[in-house]
């Protein structure tokens, strides 16, 4: 019995170290996002800006350009990574992510409709994105349960829904050319048009959703045992699924309302984190938030600086970095197992 207790403590120690590494990565990414860009901001300039109430040129760059953009990267990256981890647990499918099964597309369609009606930010935009995301994930979940779909079929259902929702968005943009939101930048995801008006409601929703989710990690773990085993342990699995899909939709919808259709982060970050932390939700959720936010922030910094004075949408950088990295972690883990 002593060995079991010791190994449990070792696991806890490992998760704590991973949290420390994640926090350092998150802070370093935030720092690079603030300081690097077409104009470099030094510590001295930032200190002076703080002292003078942001009335210096560096202060204005910090307050009106770098801060909202960096915060948006951290919030949206963390939100999408956690949303992906939750959806993967609920659908019992590692290939599921907000961009694959139509959740982002649902949110994107809602944002397009909002823009067509002249809503460009605020809680109404975030709420609409959430509703679009939730309806999409609910469609996939209900259809897969109704059809008794296998894990592979769930993904195919999601891909079909994704195409369908994007086609509706395309039709709206074609018929109402003033709806510029579905530009190519929005499609691949970008942060150049972030405003506090868009960011603050989304950030509030993301933080509240993460706080609620942090209290439900045991439920998320039990749900992965399967419907009947979880029911046998006294869980109301139907209600639990709906709650988790609501939270995942709030996270993904908020991120899409700010950053557009960012892909990859909701798929690769949960995979990469699981490789090192195991599948236990108490570690997985927090680490996904830290590494997801940091990853998107670093990619955005690279998108702004690599081809300066030109800027490429962050989604392109993420795909360039993310795809090889994804193949690398899959190849490295071949023959092994993902839990420890």
């Amino acid at each position: 019995m002593k060995s079991s207790v010791t190994s449990s403590k070792n696991n806890q120690k490992r998760i704590k170290l991973l949290y420390l590494a994640g926090a350092l990565f998150f802070i370093a990414a935030a720092f690079s996002g603030i300081c690097l860009g077409s104009t470099r901001l030094t510590i001295a300039e930032l200190s002076e800006a703080f002292a003078k109430g942001f009335e210096t040129p560096a202060g204005r760059i910090f307050l009106y350009v770098r801060l909202p953009r960096t915060a948006a990267c951290l919030v949206c990256g963390g939100a999408l990574a956690v949303s992906g981890a939750v959806i993967q647990c609920v659908l019992a499918n590692r290939l599921a992510s907000p961009s694959v099964i139509g959740v982002n597309a649902g949110a994107g369609l809602a944002v397009t409709l909002c823009t067509a009606f002249g809503i460009y930010g605020g809680f109404r935009l975030s709420a609409a994105a959430f509703i679009g995301a939730f309806l999409a994930v609910l469609c996939v979940s209900l259809a897969s349960r109704g059809l008794g779909a296998s894990r592979g079929t769930v993904i195919l259902l999601g891909v079909a829904l994704n195409s369908f929702l994007n086609a509706i968005s395309d039709a709206i943009v074609t018929l109402i050319p003033e709806v510029g939101v579905m530009s190519s930048d929005f499609r691949v995801g970008e942060f150049s048009s972030v405003t506090y008006k868009k960011l603050i409601p989304a950030a509030v929703i993301v933080i509240l959703s993460l706080a609620v989710l942090a209290t439900l990690t045991s439920e998320l773990d039990v749900l992965t045992l399967g419907e009947e085993s979880a029911s046998g342990l006294g869980m109301n699995t139907r209600a639990a699924r709906i709650v988790f899909l609501l939270i995942a939709s709030l996270l993904a919808g908020s991120a899409v309302s700010v950053a557009g259709l960012l892909s990859f982060v909701g798929l690769i970050v949960p995979h990469a984190v699981r490789r090192v932390s195991g599948s236990r939700s108490s570690g997985l959720i927090g680490l996904c938030a830290l590494f997801g936010g940091g990853f998107v922030c670093l990619c955005d910094t690279a998108a702004r600086t690599l081809f300066a004075p030109y800027e490429v949408p962050v989604g392109i950088i993420m795909a360039f970095l993310g795809a090889p990295f994804f193949v690398f972690i899959l190849a490295k883990g071949k023959g092994g197992h993902s839990d420890a």
Partner: protein, 253 residues
């Protein structure tokens, strides 16, 4: 005693169980047998509330289960379904989830829960495998891990749906000895079994389900000698008095 009184239950457009009345005592291993599609698995699901009951009532030590919440039911009755996915977690994590019904929101496992889970693993000989991923274990070991989870659940009754499926004969015998031991230790063990000689040789009581009805319940010898086995299964079961064991009487080839 787990008492089923006139239970009817089924799925959306199909009633499977019709007025089933059975008693499952504590300290006994009861084998639930029946042909494919007779309603054995549905019976277990109806007991734990996975399938809603259309009529009748179930009493667990005198308490009506319909008056209890899912968590309260899970604290009294552990249920191990047949078709289980293999979750991406270690044996230790799985067994700890047996404590889930004993926690209230926000559910955080306490030191006492970890101790109970470790005791359950020790009892099932799984303590040395606590850090092993479930996916890396053999079928028999996985079954032991799930039974350890049920033990950690600390319920008076344990329901198992075809626990010997996919196990080789050596693991089947090992599992039946384990279930026998749990019953001897005071638990009410109810197992749906397909292998009749195995079920009759190890159980204290045998309940026969046919067409959604409980057609007979009694000691293995009573059920064997009643002739109901040949009517329900179209096969002959014989009792070898010298060896005290049951076996099929195979027709000449």
């Amino acid at each position: 005693m787990l008492e089923l009184e006139n239970i009817s239950a089924g799925y959306k457009n199909k009633r499977v169980l019709e007025g089933v009345s059975l008693n499952f005592p504590k300290g006994k291993l009861t084998a639930v047998i029946g042909a494919n599609g007779s309603g054995k698995s549905t019976l277990l699901k109806a007991i734990v509330g996975i399938i809603p009951r259309e009529s009748g009532r179930i009493l667990a030590d005198g308490s009506d289960l319909s008056a209890l919440s899912r968590r309260e039911t899970a604290r009294r009755i552990a249920y191990l379904p047949q078709g289980r996915s293999v979750p991406d977690m270690t044996v230790g994590q799985l067994v700890l989830h047996g404590r889930f019904p004993h926690l209230s929101y926000p559910r955080r496992y306490r030191e006492a829960d970890r101790r109970i889970a470790a005791e359950a693993m020790e009892r099932m000989g799984m303590l040395g495998y606590a850090d092993r991923p479930l996916a890396s274990l053999s079928g028999g070991m996985k079954q032991n891990a799930y039974i350890a989870m049920a033990l950690a659940q600390d319920a008076e009754y344990i329901l198992l749906d075809e626990p010997t499926t996919y196990l080789d004969i050596s693991h089947q015998l090992g599992l039946m000895r384990t279930l026998r031991g749990l019953a001897d230790g005071g638990k009410g063990v109810i197992a749906v079994l397909h292998d009749l000689p195995l079920a009759f040789s190890y159980s204290d009581l045998t309940a026969v389900i046919d067409g959604g009805r409980a057609v007979m319940s009694g000691s293995p010898l009573e059920v064997c000698r009643s002739g109901i086995i040949s009517r329900v299964f179209g096969a002959e079961l014989v009792y070898d008095e010298a060896r005290g064991q049951f076996g099929y009487a195979y027709p000449p080839v």
